[in-house]
């Protein structure tokens, strides 16, 4: 029980390639390494010299799980650089698209990636053998999210319809209407899902976090707004890089995000929920009350419940946006190219995603910086595992290993995202 090494050579049910190594010496955790060995893809390097209009399509390819997040952060950053604010109709349509991604991604994570841990299955397909109706329902719920992206974005993975200034074509009312009944159904299922996942057995584990998320004046955060932290920081998105930085650690191809003067921090559902509980819809708050969670929630394993509540919110928002939908007169705003620097941030399902671009006056990208949520969470994930192993060192090896994996999966880490951002500073 004294010296041991916990290894998970290939982390499963996460997006991308990573491994976890925990070294325990004399019953104490000596080292935790979330190794990300997925090779870097140098996005920020080859964004240079591309047209600013290409950013949403190119950056989407960083991650097939949350392409909309990349598209949204990039168009917001570009619009910031060009001094453009889109009107509310287009903004709502973007939110609708984003809700589609939240639904798809959250349902995928809850049922296909995370729930099997709680229910003791190796994957959702094995779970489907015993509980076919549960998995069938999940697939149906997820498909609604995908269809929202299909209709608004043209396809669910790497939508084609997003552009700086708006969309290429906006959907007709008749195209969206068939979604209404399905979204209503999905909303009911999401409420039920919250109830279901709240009955899971959660390890008795809480820890202190510095939460970081966007905050919008009226809405639960999806796009834009300000950046707030649980320690009271409240800054504009443009100020992000004054307060946050990334460091390269040798054991990972992903950079580690750190808050200056604070160290590690956490983004994602837990952060959003704890910092923006008051911005949730009354229904979503009610569901939270019913399943007895509220801020401040510090058990990362319970992030699955928060995802369920965010899913409730996403279905509800999607429904409202469609019900109020009137196609805008023009699918996009004209963009006047001007040199400048722009920053944009939005809330990917996994947490805040920050983009910054410098654009030259001929509309080419001079340089780009992209900070994905998993990079920001990496130090926190390692810390969670460290504390967890310290507390539960007595568990049998098999179980402890599985639980450690689960502790990583709490963050729904997207390793593909995290590694695709090795920045190249050429002097």
């Amino acid at each position: 029980m004294n010296n041991r090494v916990i290894r998970v050579d290939q982390l499963a049910r996460v997006e991308g390639e990573g491994s976890l190594i925990v070294k325990v010496n004399d019953g104490k955790v000596a080292d935790v390494k979330l190794r990300i060995f997925e090779p870097p893809r140098f996005f920020e390097a080859f964004l240079r010299g591309r047209k600013f209009t290409e950013a949403p399509d190119i950056t989407a390819r960083i991650c097939g799980i949350c392409p909309v997040a990349y598209q949204m952060s990039s168009v917001l950053a570009m619009e910031d650089a060009m001094g453009l604010t889109v009107d509310d109709q287009i903004r709502q349509l973007r939110r609708l698209l984003y809700c589609g991604e939240w639904i798809e991604s959250h349902v995928l994570h809850m049922y296909m990636l995370h729930a099997p841990d709680f229910l003791g299955y190796e994957d959702a397909l094995l779970l489907a053998k015993d509980k076919p109706e549960l998995v069938a329902r999940a697939l149906k719920m997820k498909k609604i999210g995908n269809d929202v992206m299909n209709i608004v974005g043209g396809r669910e993975i790497h939508p084609v319809n997003v552009r700086v200034g708006g969309f290429y074509r906006v959907p007709r009312k008749e195209e969206l209407e068939p979604l209404v009944e399905r979204l209503k159904w999905g909303l009911d299922q999401a409420i039920d899902t919250a109830k279901l996942v709240s009955t899971f057995e959660f390890p008795d584990f809480e820890t202190e976090y510095e939460f970081v998320s966007l905050r919008h004046p009226e809405e639960y955060p999806l796009m834009g707004g300000r950046i707030v932290t649980s320690s009271g920081l409240d800054i504009s998105i443009r100020e992000y890089e004054f307060h946050f930085e990334e460091r390269h650690v040798p054991h990972s191809n992903a950079l580690h995000g750190l808050e200056r003067g604070h160290g590690r921090y956490s983004v994602g559902p837990l952060a959003r929920f704890n910092l923006n509980f008051d911005r949730l819809s009354p229904l979503a708050r009610q569901v939270a009350a019913d399943v007895k969670i509220g801020p401040v929630m510090k058990n990362p394993f319970k992030s699955i419940i928060v995802r369920a509540i965010e899913t409730v919110y996403a279905y509800e928002q999607a429904l409202q946006i469609i019900q109020a939908y009137e196609p805008p007169a023009s699918p996009s705003h004209a963009v006047t190219v001007s040199a400048g620097i722009g920053c944009g941030a939005s809330e990917a399902p996994r947490g805040m995603l920050y983009h910054r671009y410098r654009v030259t006056d001929d509309g080419l990208i001079r340089d780009a910086k992209i900070v994905p949520p998993t990079a920001q969470n990496q130090p926190t994930i390692e810390e969670d595992v460290r504390q967890f192993v310290t507390k539960f060192a007595g568990l049998p090896r098999e179980e402890l290993t599985w639980k450690c994996e689960q502790a990583v999966r709490n963050y729904d880490p997207c390793i593909s995202c995290a590694t695709h951002f090795v920045r190249l500073e050429i002097t």
């Binding site: 893809r41 080859f46 799980i65 669910e156 790497h158 319809n161 699918p331 090795v422």
Partner: protein, 257 residues
């Protein structure tokens, strides 16, 4: 005894995960697929890993490190049928844009300890290192096409994956040509069908994410782009996209360098 189900494995190299996610996105068919095959190795979806050999291996992602090369060779040995899925695996993907740059230099300037980072000069398609039985195009692949390919191999027939242009799909779908009616440059006439011509249907030009079609006439298309007022640089960038390193597109972009 029911007949043994074919074992299917999914492998990932440098990629965005989107292509393998297509399998999970096939909501209506996923459980049918799971019933028809034994998903033996699919880390994105399961912690269960059954040892090879596998009947069908789906390989996503491009080869970018020396370790990748070894691994993909090993995977080839393990798979009876090996199918490369997506632009990364079939053409090197968007990350092949680095093939025009000096990557070693990049790495040295970026990493504090460059010895930890091991990359090849180029991001290459899987097929440049091993024999591939079928290449399924797309960035991302189309999930219906993925199901069709799986289905075809399970039923021992040829997959119905046309290699003709996006234009054909565009017309089959009844979309109004954006290049003719709106003078929007469109790569459709040189790009392989498969996406369902979504871009033109959403009022924009095709950006070539399914790679070059069967013997494309990229030169004639580039000329037409010029007539539409595109600059040399625009044309270079248009061909140097998600399938930049696919031969026909590479040559055309180089010609406009």
């Amino acid at each position: 005894m029911p007949p043994k189900k074919p074992k299917v494995a999914v492998f990932k190299f440098a990629s965005c995960d989107g292509c393998q996610l297509s399998l999970l996105d096939a909501e209506d068919e996923l459980l049918l697929v799971a019933g028809a095959v034994d998903i033996a190795n699919f880390p994105e979806a399961s912690r269960r890993v059954l040892p090879g050999p596998y009947d069908i291996g789906l390989v996503e992602g491009s080869i970018t490190t020396p370790h990748d090369v070894e691994r993909v060779r090993e995977i080839r040995k393990q798979c009876r049928v090996l199918i490369a899925i997506g632009a990364c695996a079939t053409a090197g993907g968007i990350q092949a844009l680095r093939n025009w740059k000096d990557v070693k230099e990049f790495t040295r300037t970026v990493y504090a300890s460059p010895e930890y980072i091991s990359t090849l000069d180029r991001s290459m398609p899987v097929g440049s290192y091993i024999h591939v039985d079928f290449e399924l195009r797309g960035c991302p692949i189309n999930k219906h096409q993925l199901l069709e390919v799986l289905n075809a191999y399970l039923n021992k027939r040829k997959p119905t994956i046309p290699t003709s242009s996006v234009c054909m799909e565009c017309k089959l779908r009844g979309t109004v040509c954006v290049m003719v009616a709106q003078r929007t440059p469109c790569l459709g006439p040189a790009t392989q069908a498969g996406c369902g011509a979504i871009c033109p249907t959403y009022d924009r030009g095709c950006y070539g994410c399914f790679g070059p079609m069967e013997n494309p006439n990229t030169g004639a298309l580039a000329e037409h782009f010029e007539e539409l007022g595109e600059s040399r640089q625009d044309i270079m960038l248009a061909f140097r996209g998600f399938n930049a390193y696919a031969e026909a597109f590479r040559k055309e972009s180089d010609a406009h360098e």
